[in-house]
Symmetry: D2
Subunit: 426 residues, 4 copies
């Protein structure tokens, strides 16, 4: 019998997997986590609005959509009282355990899912074993169900140990849209954290491999530019239109042409664009949903300043208006060697770990960086570690899955590192 089954972590993970929920709609997920946490001997449990700087939430769906997801969670059996707390899209929670003298150690796990339709293939374990997504069109395709489980497991393992100090586990919503990191980072719960770990499964590392300190977080901003002009009959009165497709096209051409920066890599993408209503109408509305990245936070800001100016002047160029909003955002960050070293030590003791890698580049973005930066700015240390798993499909694909026993490895590595932190105060 696997460690995973002992504590019913497997069942818990599969329950979350069956109920994938995207940003600010993690009603069932949060309620289930809270339900589990209430069974533990916690010093405090901050739920929903108490776990977030609520004004900092980005890209929150409208009330109607929130209500639908909340209803769905209720029907799936989520605790009504907890749901009342989360109502309005205030998802996520923070568990706190105080255990004598010692440092405050944090662990951040994310809990949200993706708008991807899960595979029905017999070779896809969740489909074969009956825990495929019940929310059609959504899927845990990046392992956040495993992350939530690791958060719970690591909490248990630390409680079971002679850990002395305070442990805070951050169950963060909205990572996929880089929308949840900032509100949690600014919730106040990070303010006394001396050491912070964050964790991710997979990342193209096989089962048995552990990455002690992940690097290469690109700072990122997701933006939505909505252009508004004036329609007109394209045959009879073209001059009466104010053409948003022309504005949008001018913006696209020039966004990709933002000067490269000598300080490091930058990125720009107009990933989703659209506009217009009919071939014979000058298009009065258009939009660009895109992203801007940089190796450092400064580089992402450089891109963002240029992009804002380009979007504004492209609109002005065609006598249109543009409203540019930020849908999500995350800074860059680095893992502290001292904490990564303790991961290495911990991993060396865990059965099943067959390879330990000091560092690897993420090559993408993550909003755990908000929490890491918060701790580091206060003089603390932070580290993002990777737990390998043989995932059949790539991240964010319809066939993504994790090897469940690797969750147990993750729990042990994290718990070991946390205990070492309390002991050594690096």
């Amino acid at each position: 019998m696997s460690v995973l089954d002992t504590h019913e972590y497997r069942a818990f993970r599969r329950d979350l997997h069956r109920h994938p929920e995207p940003a600010w709609r993690e009603f069932y997920t949060t309620a289930r986590i809270v339900e589990e946490l209430r069974e533990r001997d916690l010093t405090a449990l901050h739920v929903g609005p108490d776990a977030l700087a609520t004004d900092e939430r980005l890209n929150v769906p409208d009330d109607e959509e929130l209500a639908e997801w909340e209803d769905q969670a209720r029907e799936a059996g989520a605790d009504p009282e907890t749901l009342d707390q989360l109502s309005g899209g205030y998802t996520g929670c923070v568990a706190v355990v105080e255990r004598g003298d010692g440092p405050v150690v944090g662990l951040r796990v994310d809990i949200d899912a993706l708008p991807i339709t899960e595979s029905e293939s017999g070779e896809h374990v969740p489909a074969a074993e009956g825990f495929r997504s019940e929310h059609e069109g959504f899927m845990h395709a990046c392992g956040h169900d495993a992350h939530a489980t690791m958060g719970l497991g690591a909490l248990d393992a630390v409680l079971d140990s002679d850990f002395s100090g305070t442990l805070k586990v951050f169950f963060q919503p909205g990572e996929e849209q880089v929308a949840g990191g900032k509100p949690m980072a600014e919730s106040g719960h990070l303010d006394d954290v001396d050491y912070l770990y964050a964790v991710h499964v997979g990342l193209d590392h096989p089962s048995g491999e552990v990455v002690c300190g992940v690097e290469g977080f690109l700072a990122v901003r997701h933006f939505l530019a909505e252009f508004t002009g004036e329609p007109a009959h394209a045959g009879a009165r073209p001059e009466q239109g104010r053409n948003t497709v022309q504005a949008m096209a001018a913006a696209v051409q020039n966004l990709y042409a933002i000067p490269r920066h000598a300080d490091g890599p930058t990125r720009v993408n107009a990933g989703l664009v659209g506009g217009g209503t009919a071939t014979n109408i000058i298009p009065e509305e258009s939009h660009i949903e895109g992203e801007l990245r940089g190796q450092t936070t400064e580089l992402a800001e450089y891109m963002s300043e240029h992009a804002d100016r380009i979007l504004d002047s492209a609109a002005e160029m065609h006598d249109c208006e543009v409203d540019v909003s930020t849908l999500g955002e995350a800074p860059s960050a680095t893992s502290d060697d001292a904490l990564a070293g303790l991961v290495r030590e911990s991993a060396g003791d865990v059965e099943g770990v067959t390879n330990i890698v000091d560092s690897d580049d993420l090559g993408g973005s993550e909003d755990a960086t908000y929490l890491m930066n918060r701790v580091q700015e206060q003089g603390g240390l932070a580290c993002y570690l990777g737990v390998g798993t043989d995932h059949p499909g790539g991240h964010h694909t319809t066939d993504f899955d994790v090897v469940e026993d690797d969750i147990a490895i993750g729990i042990d590595v994290i718990a070991g590192a946390i205990r070492r932190v309390a002991e050594t105060r690096p």
Copy 2:
């Protein structure tokens, strides 16, 4: 009792109005027209594929969609045998009456509807009097239900007269997408037509006004450009993408910049554009649905040649492919004065006509021009006449409607003009 009621034209028009059908989906409409025509003493009736150069149909929906509309027509009570003839989207028909020696005179009316949701307002007569569209999202918002009725009525009136010659009434599908004119023009049924009339209601002319010879048809081409590239992770591997949004934007910028032409007005519009799947994916698919126009057929071809080259090279510029298809097309045309003169004479005799206008500019496009050109190229004459009506909303708006008594005026004007053609052979 109105003339319109005598022949049940009002009921016929309202029946069509309740069943608006867009291009190549005019199953119920054609079947109802055929049903009426079969009650007349015709020399010949060419239905569906027999009324069209079938290879020339543009923008035909896929089989699934055609089948849905055919089923819907069947359920609404359309004659199954007729539907079998139309199956596959071969809609429209041509009615032929031979009545002794004399010229062959044609009348072209169009029968299709628009993808517009009809008003439910109590001030909108079809809603108030119970003949609002039963095909939600579609509507006779340009009066083609009145046109079909005029076709039937004029046929009856000519049959009731001492007309000597041949009359052909062309019930043409797919005008709104300028997709049905060419296949009907090249069906062979126009080849012996000496004189052709086409008719339109409204056009911002009030009830009681008749426009003898409409001019100003802009030649037009509707096109769809579909760009295909290669997706890639915009953060991790931007260079592996082949970016269709960049290609699309380059095309848009340069399409609007096709040089103006000294020979006359030209038009271009990228009316509907879109592309991409997610902010962090280099967009692999994009499209432009647009139109190109010119005062003359040559000018529209000038625009079209430039557009094709721009679309191809914009794709090539970003290492993408593009497939450019023509969704609809119509040439320019002019109304012959001799036929317009007979409309003037006829209108002078019709009760209810309060104002006669020699000519006015359409300022848009129409594919009756294909039929007009066909006749004129053979040495015949053609004329497009307008029948005013107080339409509450503009053409192609949710509140468009016609004054039904003006249909009777149209019938009388057309029938009078046709009789005069046969008498005078201008």
Copy 3:
């Protein structure tokens, strides 16, 4: 002996031809005209600053260049006192003759030359007969030497007649750059003019042909956009540059894409562009010299408003500045039928006139329109007439020349029309 020789017009024309001078540099030309005029019995002669609204001059060269041309005129024998009056680039003059009661009739002729190197071919009459341009790189390639001569000749002919009224002859500088019309139109000397003629030779009409009333003047604006940014090493620090070539390219792309206007033809051209200093430097300076036109003054203004906005926002888009100045400008205008009718009458009496054309389109721009508009706005009439001549090369080419005897025809036609105006006061 030709009429042309009688009055030494031929010698005068050849003298001007040998000394072609562009806008605001017509020192020799004006001085020679003034010299001739002083020999006539004039009521008044307004020279240089007295003939112009001096603040309205556009595109005036810098002092150094003006001084060079003034010196050159002095060396060529121009009257020093007149040159002193013209100093600073105040060229052109207005001759006034009052002869009893009657209307005030104006005649406008232009006097400037083009920056074109004149042909040295033996087939080119000025080269063969020794009156080729002595200002290398400049040339009377549009017949303004003939226009000045016609102005003088028509003045003489009117003085020799029983003309009763006032005649004003406007010798206008700077037409080729559409820079001189406005300052002369607003000089005050037009304010009492009841009837105005302007004249042009050639225009692809052969010797013996007269065009009574020219139409089709495109309103025009010449502009210069100068972009300023910031240089940077393109390899080492691309992000430190503010790239004017990017700004210029964005402007060009969007200038040509200004929406077509349903009210009539418009034009745009970025005819001369440039920028940058070296391949490895982000280009800090760029410029566009271009033009905007419209069939009407309103249409040209429409183009101009769009262009200004596009130029500004293109600069802003790349964090650059742009300075947009107007180098020249002219409105549209029409010829009044009543005056054109008198040209027809006059031409009918002139020997050598073999064909009379009522009207033809210029298809270009002219700033006589400023003077024509001025008169018409005050309730007067204006007319622009054409005097055909077999010109071997096209206008503005190195081989352009006029048949000198056609100048005599022009003199007679104009003088006859002016006399008829005084007699009939149309």
Copy 4:
């Protein structure tokens, strides 16, 4: 008395400084070097066409310009026989000394100058001491006069030592345009070179500092794109033009938007652009002179492939032609640690060296890389070293100058490194 004076290196350097010559026009420079070399006891001296793979020369001026520079060199006293050898722009030379058994060691120095007007300030030593450029508009503003002197000095120093082996000194033309490296690299003279040094003064390193192994050479391609279209009158017949300014602008917009590459930095610059002839003529000719760079040769090729495609399709988009030529090119390269180590050892022994830096990034481009790559591909080693000097103005500025005594330091460091190579064969 300085070492520099002993051998008259100072006079030699000042002579070259007075006669700065750009790529393929180094007639005086090469002749003077050859004159000096002929006084040495060389095994062989390959001059002009014998020192180059002549077909590989890029961006060679036309015959007229070459002849002017050759004449100027002759007048300045260059040896006529040597000039005959160089005629046609075959500049540069290779000196060979065989001294017993041992490896073949190469030293590459470049000899060309820049199109910069030298400062006349009294604070600029060459101006103050009378050896300012005599070729107005050209200047040794990057220290290649010092490089040539170091080449000569190091040759002497090696000859004076107990060096055993073969020494080849490559006096390379055309580095500033990255035009001379390839023809010298492929001349055959590198084919037996086992070890190669190249050297540069300054690079923002102060007098007394030595950089053992320079890195960070950006691979580069200079290109010239010449667009050809068709002129037309922009007012009368805009549609008859084929507009190269539109093509050029489309190219510029899209060149800067070539996707960033995850493998490393890339660069693009349209540094010099121009087009058109007059505001009212559709511009028939335009050009872009620009550059493409990458951290590695592969990255520069990536940029180059995209640029070629963009230039071609931008021309095609506006129905124009484009001719794209390469004006200069250089790959990336790295310095071998083993050779850099010997520089460190050598520098440690040289008086005046106060600081030794292992490595620094050039942050620009250099075509010594062709020679370095050639040697390394054959299994040899190569190293690019830097000799600091307090240069008052930056490289490529009007005030650039070197401290002459630092040339002596350079000679000693290089000669010491070469001797150590022969001894240790690393």
